[in-house]
């Protein structure tokens, strides 16, 4: 099973739009979930919703999480820590721009790459 991709943006529209671009690229070959907005539906991120997204995109190969601004990263870290112990080690946050990162991570994942490889390819975007 391929690595799953989770997109976490402050904006529901950005999250959905990035997910659309991933789907266009890789179709249904990669488990994909996205979340944007806080508990009240405004701009922001929510630990509970991120947890739901990670579980929705769960793959035994792990999931790579793409985030936008600071709170999305902090809330995603919190969500990962709240996963069951056997899943915690197989969810990672990529250090990459959210749209480009999601597309390139998904493309890598669709070829059957490991979680470490998917994360490394996304992280390379930040070092270019």
């Amino acid at each position: 099973m391929n690595v799953g991709i989770v997109i976490v943006s402050h904006s529901p529209k950005v999250a959905e739009g990035a997910a659309d671009m991933v789907r266009q690229m890789v179709g249904d070959s990669v488990p994909l979930a996205y979340t944007g907005g806080d508990e009240a539906g405004g701009l922001g991120t929510s630990v509970a919703r991120i947890l739901d997204a990670i579980n929705a995109a769960w793959s035994e190969a792990g999931v790579a999480v793409l985030v936008d601004l600071g709170g999305a990263e902090t809330n995603s870290e919190m969500a990962i820590e709240m996963l069951p112990p056997e899943r915690r080690e197989r969810a990672v946050i990529c250090n990459a721009p959210i749209v480009e990162g999601a597309v390139i991570a998904a493309a890598e994942a669709s070829g059957g790459s490991s979680l470490a490889k998917v994360q490394a390819v996304a992280d390379e975007l930040s070092s270019q």
Binding site: T45, V47, T74, E77, M78
Partner: protein, 203 residues
């Protein structure tokens, strides 16, 4: 000091009432240098805590603190949810049921360190750590509750001339100077609320 169920409930009520009373102020501070969600986020979080006040206050102090942290994490959203949540979760892990002053000061310091790790930040970067750090020092020096509240309020004021290096305000660079940090202000308000309740008790 003994923080019994009735006192735990008063502390929860006072924190929630203080956040409610200052919601608009926190929003305005955050609109100046952040994304403007701090007042509503804090209110959502502490309203959720207040809604569970009976259940939380009935638990021993460590479990009550962890329950508050969990509730804040799951309800606040934004960048401050995990920071405030982490603070209460770690304080709950650090304390036993009847901590003395030294144990409380040590627990507070540990919770502050966890917040710093969560936010990848340190004091001096115009965040709530700029309030937590001097309060932690005042606790270790056996300051009275009224004195600690004063330290917290002054520390929040002292963030005005700072330039933000963490959080959304960091994008503004030098333009963040001249505004009080909303997280520092909310931390001083919460600490002030707790101190006001404790000042009125024997502790």
């Amino acid at each position: 000091m003994q923080i019994d169920s009735a006192l735990r409930r008063r502390l929860i009520e006072e924190m929630a009432a203080t956040v409610e009373a200052h919601c608009q102020e926190l929003t305005e501070l955050d609109q100046a240098i952040g994304d403007g969600d701090h007042g509503t986020g804090m209110k959502r979080g502490f309203d959720a805590v207040l809604a569970h006040a009976d259940k939380l206050a009935d638990q021993p102090l460590p479990a009550a603190l962890r329950g508050i942290g969990q509730t804040l994490v799951m309800s606040m959203g934004g960048a401050s949810g995990p920071l405030y949540g982490t603070f209460f979760l770690e304080l709950g892990k650090a304390l036993d049921e009847n901590p003395d002053r030294a144990a409380f000061a040590a627990g507070f310091a540990r919770a502050m360190a966890a917040v710093a790790a969560r936010g990848k930040s340190e004091p001096g970067q115009k965040t709530l750590l700029d309030v937590l750090a001097p309060v932690s020092a005042a606790l270790a020096e056996n300051e009275t509750p009224a004195g600690i509240a004063r330290v917290a309020a002054e520390a929040a004021e002292a963030t005005v001339p700072m330039q933000a290096l963490r959080g959304r305000a960091a994008f503004l660079g030098a333009r963040s100077v001249g505004h009080m940090d909303p997280g520092a202000r909310s931390a001083s308000l919460i600490i002030g609320a707790v101190c006001a309740v404790l000042e009125g008790t024997s502790g």
